[in-house]
Every structure is written in structure tokens, then in C-alpha cells.
């Protein structure tokens, strides 16, 4: 199977005042297409930083970042934006839905960057909502939906343009247990049935158990995770 993600000796540091603080140091990572990878680790260990690099939201200081066939470290900002639209779907902890739009329109947003007709866009958004079990909630605004429902709308938005890679940053971090299970079930189903490659950051070992592989991020390094309980 081809590698969906391949990082080679990637480093990332942040400037804090005069200081330069290393977050990721000479990190290597391979993710195969079709994998569902869970990244765990203490707060502040660099998980979000790593996801941002994978999704082309920020750039590495050093090293090779190859995702979905592109060398992200070599793309211009404009090309990187176009690449994101084509290849990446993001799911954030706090959903980041636009409050003025209903669910249907939120899901349709990424399709504005495609060549699809208006009718096609509407149709695809509706199909994505159906896939996450919210076919009848298209007309609801985010404020009229529960947290779990909002996160499923966000997943529909991440899926609608059929990206190569889903990147989820603590997608259940703000949800109660039942809603979290629904969201995790959905992600696992997308991975198994639609063969979506997923990289998910989570604090919760129960959530990590849904993934097909688990890695620990600590002090800017990756390590195999031995502590995870197997999925039940």
C-alpha cells in the first residue's frame, strides 16, 4: 500500500519572545493509505502542531513533508491552499461551524472551491449529511444542534469534497460519552467502509481504541503506544 503520509526528519520550533522553543525534533512518520491512526500524548507535547504540518496549515522548519503525493515543504502558499481543498478534511475539537449558516450550507462550504454546479453541490452536501445520520437536520443552524450533532456536521463538511486524508484534532474532547461513541463509530465506519485514511489526536484511551494503530507523542518524538487498552 502507498504511503499517505511520509515525514522525514521534520523539525518545528516556535519563537517565544527572544527564545526559540523546539516542539518537534527530527521526527519521522509513515501513515499508509487506509489506516486509522490515533496520536496520543500529554497536553503541549506537539500533537496539534504535528496535525497542522500534515494538513498544510503550517510549515516545518526542516525536513520533508510528503502528504497525498505532494511535497508540502515545496508548495507555494496558493498551491498549498488548493492542495488542502483537494486532499484534506479537518475535524476540530470545537467544530468551527459558521454560526450564520445552517448545517446544509456549512457542509456545502468546501464545495464552493470545486467546479461542481450549484445543484450538484447541494446534492453532495445532502448526501454527506445523510452519511453522518443528519439528513433531516440540514435546515438547522449550529445553535439548534447538540454538540454531538454539530461535530457530525463538521465531519460531513470534512468529507464532502472526498478528501484523501481526514485530520481530527480531539474530535470528542468536548462531547459526552454517548455522543463521543457515536462520532467515533462514524469515524471507524468511514475508515472501514469508505476506506478513508484518518489521523486522529485524542487524550482518551477509549477513543484511541477505535483506531487501527496508536502512537504516542512525547517531547517531540513518536513512540509506539503500549498502554492502550484494546477496543471492546
Amino acid at each position: 500500500m502507498a504511503a499517505m503520509v511520509s515525514l522525514r526528519k521534520v523539525s518545528k520550533r516556535y519563537r517565544r519572545g527572544a527564545q526559540s522553543v523546539p516542539v518537534l525534533e527530527s521526527l519521522d512518520l509513515e501513515v499508509e493509505a487506509g489506516e486509522f491512526l490515533a496520536l496520543m500524548g500529554p497536553s503541549g507535547s506537539g500533537k496539534t502542531t504535528l496535525l497542522n504540518l500534515l494538513g498544510g496549515l503550517s510549515r516545518a522548519d526542516q525536513g520533508e513533508v510528503r502528504v497525498a503525493g505532494a511535497r508540502l515543504d515545496q508548495l507555494s502558499p496558493r498551491a498549498l491552499a488548493r492542495w488542502r481543498a483537494r486532499h484534506i478534511g479537518f475535524v476540530f475539537q470545537f467544530y468551527n461551524l459558521l454560526p450564520v449558516f445552517n448545517a446544509q450550507r456549512n457542509v456545502e462550504l468546501p464545495l464552493l472551491l470545486t467546479k461542481l454546479s450549484r445543484e450538484q453541490r447541494r446534492h453532495n452536501a445532502q448526501a454527506a449529511l445523510a452519511l453522518v445520520g443528519l439528513a433531516d437536520r440540514g435546515a438547522h443552524r449550529p445553535s439548534e444542534l447538540s454538540g454531538g450533532q454539530q461535530q457530525r456536521v463538521a465531519i460531513a463538511r470534512a468529507l464532502v469534497a472526498d478528501p484523501s486524508l481526514l485530520i481530527c484534532d480531539e474530535p470528542t474532547g468536548d462531547l459526552d460519552r454517548a455522543s463521543a461513541d457515536q462520532v467515533l463509530d462514524l469515524l471507524r465506519r468511514l475508515n472501514r467502509e469508505q476506506n478513508k485514511t484518518i489521523v486522529m489526536v485524542t487524550h482518551d484511551p477509549r477513543a484511541a481504541a477505535y483506531a487501527s494503530r496508536r502512537l504516542n507523542v512525547d517531547k517531540g518524538q513518536l513512540g509506539d503506544d503500549a498502554t492502550t487498552v484494546a477496543a471492546t
Binding site: 496549515l57 502558499p77 481543498a85 483537494r86 479537518f90 459558521l98 450564520v100 450550507r105 464552493l112 453541490r121
Partner: protein, 385 residues
């Protein structure tokens, strides 16, 4: 759903704020249109005044009458080519508020002096000379009152007390005159003798004297000669070109143009701050949303463009509304046939200048924010850092 919906959504996000800002912009550009329209209107009035004849009025004040005997002496001054004494009165037709200027004058003399500005067919002028009660009315006035040649119209003249105690006069309309500026064709021009014989007050006087000159280059000298002729009389005169007359009239209320321009400038300046502030708030609130759009693959330029378009739409639509209201309202506000002032209009140039100002206000307030949105770092913005 289209990209336009993104702009609409931004404006709909805080409907009250958008409505208030729009209202301010509408008001500002309404003022802009009206004030600049008046400004241009006044300049046009002054500019259109014919410099080739003179107006004689009392040196005491504009309203003080002059004895009709002065006409003879002025006519005898060298370089003078015709004189016409104007008895200016106010008349109303049917409704006391439906007023118009009634001017008693030697009709033939008046139309000869003003031949390039007031035009009527010769046979109609001849008819007026032959009929004591005959009158030539301005086309605007005729259209407004629904009069036509052959009509006999009773006019109420409050400023005129007749021997029998009444103040009504009847005029037979024998002609209609046109003006170089059609909106100002609002006089009822009647025979001086008819009006003069009817009145008890101010008999044998005129309000002003129009003087034609043979050589336009000598108007200043002739004006001086006229004023000199009456320097030692009890009726000293002030002789001016029509242009000076209008100018001095306008100067009485100060340098209007400057004051008006200053007001418009202040209004636009205030508006700029208001719009910039509204836009800044709107963008600040939406930083995470703009970052989200970028994460979805909207380019930096596209996100910046949304903000510029939002500002252009807000300012543009509201400014159009305000300017259009000015176009509709200014003629109604300024149409005062009673004062012999025609309707003023918002010139195309003022409308265009307004539209340009709206675009500038939008760009000046939006461009810095658009730049900020363009540079916005997605990762930091999404982590609310």
C-alpha cells in the same frame, strides 16, 4: 449557496449593526447629494446670469422702491440701450399657498433687454402691448397651473391694495415665454400700467430697473455713470451686472459654497471612521471563521477579497440609496416658483463623485483589514491564540 452568500452572511451576522451603519451611510450620502446639488445649483445660477446688462436697485436696500422717473434719466445716459422698470409683486392663484412672482413691466422693453434669456413669439408680445390686462407667463408656471393662451386668470395679490379695498386682479394670458434655464420660467409678466394704476401703495415706483447696454465691455463705466447721476438725490442707486447682483445676494449668507463643502467633508470624514470601525469589529469577530475558510482551501486573496467586497457592498448599496433619495428630493425641496427659483437637480457629476467617495470610504476602511485577513496565520487563529 454561492460565494456571494458568504458576503451576505457576514452582513447578516449582526443585523442591527449592519442596519445602523447602512442608515448612517444612507443619511451621509443623502446629505452629500443634496448639499453638493445646492452648491452646484447656486454656482450655476451665478454663472448663468447674463453679464451684458445691468440691474439698478436702491442703495438703501434691495426692497426699497425707486421712482419710475429715474427710467427717463437712465435711458438718456450714453451707452444705455433700453431700460425696463420692474414692479415685483407676489400673487397667488386659488390657494394662498400657490404663489408666483407677478412682474409689472414694459413688456416689450423687458423682452428686448433679455432677448437671449427670455424668449416669446413676437405676435404674443404685440398682443400683450395691445391688451392692458394681457400677460405673458413662463412655461414652467403655465404648466404648473395648467394655463394656456386665452385663459383669463384671477390672481390674489396681498401686497396690493386697490382703491375698492380688494386685492384681486385678472390677467388675460396672451403668451408664454421660455427661458434659457427652463426651470426658472416662473414669472407672470404683466403690463406695468395695469398694475400701477390698480395699486394705492408704491404707486409710480419700481423695485428694480433692468438696463441694456450697447457695448458689454463698458458695463462697469455705465454702471458708475448711472450711480453718479443719482448720487445727490434722495434715491441713490446701486447698479450691478446681473452676475454681481446674484453674487452679492449669495454673499449675504456668507460663503455658502465653502461652508457647504466643509459640512460635506466633515460628514464623510465621520462616516469613514464609522465604517472603518464597523468593519474592524466585524472582522475581529470573525477571525476564527476566516481561518476556517482558509483551512478549507480558500486562498489568502479570496478571504481578503471577501472583506473588500463586503465593505464595497455595504457602502455602495447604502450610498446609492442615499444619492438616489437626494436625486428625488432635491428638486422638491428647491422648487420655489414664488421666488423665481427653479428646481435644482443633483448633477450627474455629483452623483458620480458620491459613488466614488463611497468606494473610497469602503476601500480605505476595508483594505487594512483585508491585509490582516490575508496574513492571518491559520494555526494560531484556530487555536484562539
Amino acid at each position: 449557496m454561492t460565494r456571494a452568500d458568504l458576503v451576505w452572511a457576514a452582513l447578516r451576522r449582526r443585523p442591527a449593526r449592519t442596519a445602523l451603519t447602512s442608515l448612517s451611510i444612507v443619511t451621509a450620502f443623502f446629505l452629500f447629494g443634496v448639499i453638493e446639488g445646492v452648491n452646484v445649483g447656486i454656482a450655476t445660477m451665478a454663472g448663468a446670469a447674463n453679464p451684458h446688462h445691468l440691474l439698478v436697485s436702491s442703495r438703501l436696500s434691495m426692497g426699497t422702491p425707486l421712482p419710475v422717473a429715474q427710467l427717463q434719466r437712465i435711458a438718456a445716459i450714453s451707452g444705455v440701450d433700453g431700460v425696463a422698470g420692474l414692479a415685483m409683486l407676489m400673487g397667488s392663484y386659488r390657494d394662498p399657498r400657490n404663489v408666483m412672482p407677478v412682474v409689472g413691466v414694459d413688456i416689450a422693453a423687458l423682452f428686448r433687454i433679455y432677448e437671449t434669456q427670455m424668449m416669446a413669439p413676437p405676435e404674443q408680445l404685440a398682443a400683450a402691448a395691445h391688451l392692458r390686462t394681457g400677460a405673458i407667463v413662463g412655461r414652467m408656471l403655465a404648466e404648473h397651473q395648467g394655463w394656456k393662451v386665452g385663459d383669463r386668470v384671477p390672481i390674489q395679490m396681498p401686497g396690493l391694495r386697490k382703491a375698492d379695498g380688494s386685492s384681486d386682479m385678472s390677467f388675460d394670458i396672451v403668451g408664454i415665454y421660455d427661458r434659457d434655464q427652463p426651470d426658472t420660467a416662473t414669472w407672470l409678466v404683466a403690463n406695468y400700467d395695469y398694475i400701477n394704476e390698480s395699486r394705492l401703495q408704491n404707486r409710480d415706483s419700481v423695485s428694480q430697473i433692468a438696463v441694456g447696454v450697447t457695448d458689454p465691455a463698458r458695463t462697469a463705466q455705465i454702471a458708475q455713470a448711472i450711480d453718479d447721476a443719482f448720487a445727490n438725490s434722495s434715491n441713490q442707486t446701486l447698479t450691478q451686472t446681473e452676475k454681481d447682483f446674484v453674487d452679492s445676494l449669495l454673499r449675504q449668507v456668507g460663503d455658502i459654497a465653502f461652508v457647504l463643502d466643509a459640512i460635506v467633508g466633515a460628514v464623510l470624514f465621520t462616516l469613514l471612521f464609522l465604517t472603518a470601525n464597523t468593519m474592524a469589529q466585524s472582522v475581529r469577530e470573525r477571525i476564527p471563521e476566516l481561518a476556517l475558510l482558509k483551512s478549507l482551501g480558500f486562498s489568502d486573496a479570496a478571504v481578503a477579497g471577501l472583506i473588500v467586497i463586503e465593505a464595497l457592498l455595504l457602502c455602495g448599496a447604502a450610498a446609492m440609496l442615499g444619492l438616489t433619495a437626494a436625486v428625488a428630493v432635491l428638486p422638491l425641496m428647491t422648487n420655489r416658483p414664488a421666488l423665481g427659483i427653479g428646481a435644482m437637480h443633483v448633477p450627474h457629476a455629483v452623483f458620480a463623485a458620491g459613488a466614488l467617495a463611497a468606494i473610497l470610504v469602503a476601500l480605505v476602511s476595508a483594505l487594512p483589514l483585508a491585509g490582516k485577513a490575508r496574513r492571518l496565520d491559520i494555526a494560531s487563529a484556530l487555536s484562539h491564540r
